[in-house]
Symmetry: C2
Subunit: 151 residues, 2 copies
DNA sequence: TTTCATGTAACTTTTATTGTTACATTATTA
DNA sequence: TAATAATGTAACAATAAAAGTTACATGAAA
């Protein structure tokens, strides 16, 4: 795994958990699916656990499970749980703000990004984990071309 | 300069050029204002030049100028010129797409981000360089609190 | 008590960005 | 034409952020 983000790792793991609800999946197994390291999986799923989306059990037959139906988990929750911004940061470092222009650019961009953030969150809320899972195993009636969540 | 992005550097430089329209400003002078290196300034402004927003002249009394009135330059143009995405990339590396779930996650997120990108671009288009420049020298009638471009 | 799993700290590797040096190119001016 | 002052750009170094790895403690079940 090179350029992936924790967000897409999280989504990928959640889909796997959703598709195998009967038994817990270990970090090692997930790591193979996600082509990464068990510790990385624990780090990512650990933050999802703090958000109440998954649970982990230790010891024999331990591993990770979904705590809620996939239809009740939306991407906004996942994205919020990961604490990542979908938007880049444009602020300069603290030493720079002596310049009034820098402050203004930061302020304008900050306002813009805050607006945009809210906008994106509202859109993410409309995509559920189940939406993704359904696309991952296309219904024969709806072949898997790119007719996604638009609208 | 540590965490700044090329986008905010570009905006900062453009405001400076706007505020001093009478003579060209050199990379070195701008570098001092932006607290960075002349070469970095050239790199950033070089891409803005390709987009037709600024011009550079070499030799004696050379430097950088704005090519258009600040009211005709909007943030969408700047952002497009810089070739940067405001959104993070969530795609995994090519080796990962053997997994159908990864492909689906990538596809869904890709669609979402493409939508979001268009949305943000439309909003950026409504902010002009002049808007920023005016805030940087607040009109006494409109003190400089955070009444920015919302709406 | 052995085994298997997570929890987590510490460290290394990798990648992207930024900063820097050096020098060629071009334009102006004395 | 020579000196000067600027950009253009390649090549490299430094930095920071992210991911990968190792090692081991902790907890639960057989």
């Amino acid at each position: 795994m090179k350029r992936s983000s924790r967000l897409s790792l999280a989504l990928h793991a959640l889909v796997h958990l959703h598709k195998q609800p009967d038994e817990a999946i270990t970090s090692s197994t997930l790591a193979q699916c996600l082509m990464t390291n068990p510790v990385v999986v624990r780090r990512v799923l650990g933050t999802l656990r703090e958000a109440g989306l998954v649970a982990s059990t230790r010891g024999h037959d331990g591993g990770w499970r979904l705590l809620r139906p996939a239809g009740e988990i939306n991407l906004r929750q996942v994205y919020a749980a990961m604490g990542e911004s979908l938007l880049i940061r444009t602020e300069s470092d603290p030493g720079d703000i002596a310049c009034g222009i820098v402050r203004t650019v930061n302020a304008v961009m900050g306002d813009f990004l805050a607006d945009a953030e809210a906008l994106l969150a509202a859109r993410l809320e409309r995509v559920s984990l189940d939406d993704i899972a359904r696309e991952a195993t296309p219904n024969p009636l709806h072949p898997h071309h790119g007719n996604h969540h638009h609208g």
